[in-house]
Symmetry: C2
Subunit: 357 residues, 2 copies
Amino acid sequence: MIKTIEGINRRTKACGTAARERIDQLTKPLNSLGRLEELAIELAEMTGDPLPTVTPPGVIVFAADHGVAKEGVSAYPPEVTAQMVFNFLRGGAAINVFSRQIGALMRVVDVGVAFSFPEDVVANADGMFVDAKVRFGTRNMLAEEAMTRDETITAIEAGISQAHELIDAGAKIVIPGEMGIGNTTAASALLAALSGKEVTACVGAGTGVAGERLLHKIAVVQKALQERSPNAADPIDVLGKVGGLEIAAMAGAILGAAQRRTPVLLDGFISTVAALIAVRLAPACRDYLLAGHRSQETGHALALSELGLAPLIDLKMRLGEGSGAALAFPIVDAACRMVREMATFAEAGVASGGGER
Amino acid sequence: MIKTIEGINRRTKACGTAARERIDQLTKPLNSLGRLEELAIELAEMTGDPLPTVTPPGVIVFAADHGVAKEGVSAYPPEVTAQMVFNFLRGGAAINVFSRQIGALMRVVDVGVAFSFPEDVVANADGMFVDAKVRFGTRNMLAEEAMTRDETITAIEAGISQAHELIDAGAKIVIPGEMGIGNTTAASALLAALSGKEVTACVGAGTGVAGERLLHKIAVVQKALQERSPNAADPIDVLGKVGGLEIAAMAGAILGAAQRRTPVLLDGFISTVAALIAVRLAPACRDYLLAGHRSQETGHALALSELGLAPLIDLKMRLGEGSGAALAFPIVDAACRMVREMATFAEAGVASGGGER
C-alpha cells in the first residue's frame, strides 16, 4: 500500500495543453463541445497522452457483507449479497447489462461475502470471479470494530492488486463498483467521520428504507460513531472501525489505478466515499478521478463536494454496482474519440471562421 | 404530408404498463434506475413493444444554406455549409465520430446547399449522400420570403421520405441533425413567431457571435419578423417566411418517424424548433419525442418548455449536427437493454426485499 501511495504522480499539464491546441483546430465552432473538451484535456493530463483512449473500460465489482446488516438497516436480507454475486456471474444484473453495452472487461471480486462459493462457481466463471476474501463479512460496528487494522490494509491491497491486474489485462479506465447489503450504512458512517458533518446529512434510503426505518438507520450510525470513536485524521482507523471490506478494496482499486496513471470513473455514493478515503490516504490520486453519475442517495452530494467533483450525468438513479459510471462511460469515450478522430479545419479544407472563445 | 400527419397514432399505454410490471421484477431495488425506467416505459409505449429496442440508431444530417447568412449573422462564411458536407462524407466531423461510436446508420441529405456537388462525390459516398435539393439555399428573409409554400412542403416531404428510407434500412430510432450556416437565425425567428415570446429570448451565440454582432443578429430577426409578418397559426407559413430548407426537412423527418412509431431523439436548438413545427402540424407526434441534450444556445430552453421536454444530458455543448443526441443515445439504448436483458428476482433466485416505491 505504501509503495502504491508513494508511486502516484500528479497530472501532466503539458499533455492537456497539447490536447487543447488540437481541439481548437477541429472542425467545429470554438468551445462548442463544452464539457467534452474539458474531459479530453483532463484525460490527456491523466494518461500523459494528448490523444488519450479509454477503451476498453474495466469494471470491478467488489462484494462483501456487513455485520451491521443484522440491525435491519437495509430493505433486503444479508443473503442477497451472495445471491447477487451468483446473478453477476450469470450475467443478469444491471452492471452486467451495461458492461456488455460498453464492451467492458468485468470482474467480480469477493473480498468478504459471508458465504463460501463452490469451487465449480469459480471454475465456470471464465475468470470473471476472483476470490480475495479477507473474512466472512465485517463485524457489527455497533458492537465492535468492523475490521482490524490488518484486515483493513489487506482489503485495500486486494483492491490495488485487482486494479493492476485489470489494467494489465488491457483496461484503460477503471470503474469501481460494489455489492454489499448494509454498505450505505457503512459509507454513511465513513462520510460523517471523514467530513465532520451531521450524520443526518450522510444517511439516505439506500436500497429503499424510509420513515421509521430510516430514523433507525440514522440512530445506528450515530451510536456506532459514538461507540467506536474513529480518528478522522487516520483513514485506515475510520475504515476499520465502521467497514466495509468492499469499500476498502474500492479505495485500493482507486489508488492502484492512479499509480498506473489510469483514469477512474466513479459511480455513486459508495464509490465516491471510497474515493474520499483514497484521497485522504494519497491526495495526488484526486488527479485521476472523474465523477460519472449523480446519485439520489442523500450523502452523495456531500461526498462529491468534499472531492470537488461534478458528475457527468444525472438520471435519478441509486442502484450502485458501478451502474451509473457504466452509463456515463460513453461520454468519456466520446471525448477521446473526438480528439483522436475529428478532422482539423486544415485537413478538411473548411474555413475556420472567427468564433469568439 | 397530409397522409403522414393523419397516419400518426398516439402511444400504446398498455405496452408501458407491461414494461413497468417487468421492470419492477428485475434484480434491483424498486425504482432505483430512476429515469432509465421511465425511458424504457416511454419507448415501450412509442414502439408498441414492451421489450423495445433502439439499435441501430439512424442519424440524418440535413444540409442547406440560408439567404440571411449574407447579413453577417454567423461567425462563419456561407461556404462552410458545403465544406462541412464534404467533411461529413469523408468522416471527419463530430457527428461522424459519434455516429461511428454508436453504430448509427448515417445519411447526409442536401435539401438546399448553395453548391453543386460533383457526380463523383455522390457516387463515392457509399449511399451516405442523398441529393434532395429543393433550391440553392433560401432567399434572404430580410428582403423576401425565404421559401414559397410549395418549396416548404417539398422540403418537409423530403424529410418524411428520408426518415422512411432510414427506417426501412433498419433504423429503430431517428436522430435528426443539421448543417446550415445561418440556421440559428432562422430557428430563432421560427421560435419567436411560434411561441409569441420576445426575440431576445430566442436569439443566441450560434456558432459564436457576441457583443455587437449578437445585437445585429437580434435586429435582423426582429426586422424580418416585422417585414414578413408570419401567421403563427399556420406553421407552413412561418417556415416559408423565415426558412430554412433543412429545418423543414427535419420537421418532416420527425413526422415520418412518428408515422412509423419510431422514437425521435432530439439534439439541440435547431432540432427542437423543428420538432415544435412538427407538433404544431401534428400534435400526436409529440408522443414520439425524446430530448437528448440541453444546448447552451439561448432559445433551446424555451423550445423545450413549449414541448414539455427535459433533456437526458447537459454537457454545455452548442455544436448541432445531431451531436448532442448521438451522445445521449447510449442512455436510451441502456434503457432498452435493461428491460430486455436483466434477470428477474425469480429467474436469479434473489430475495426481492421490501423496498418502498
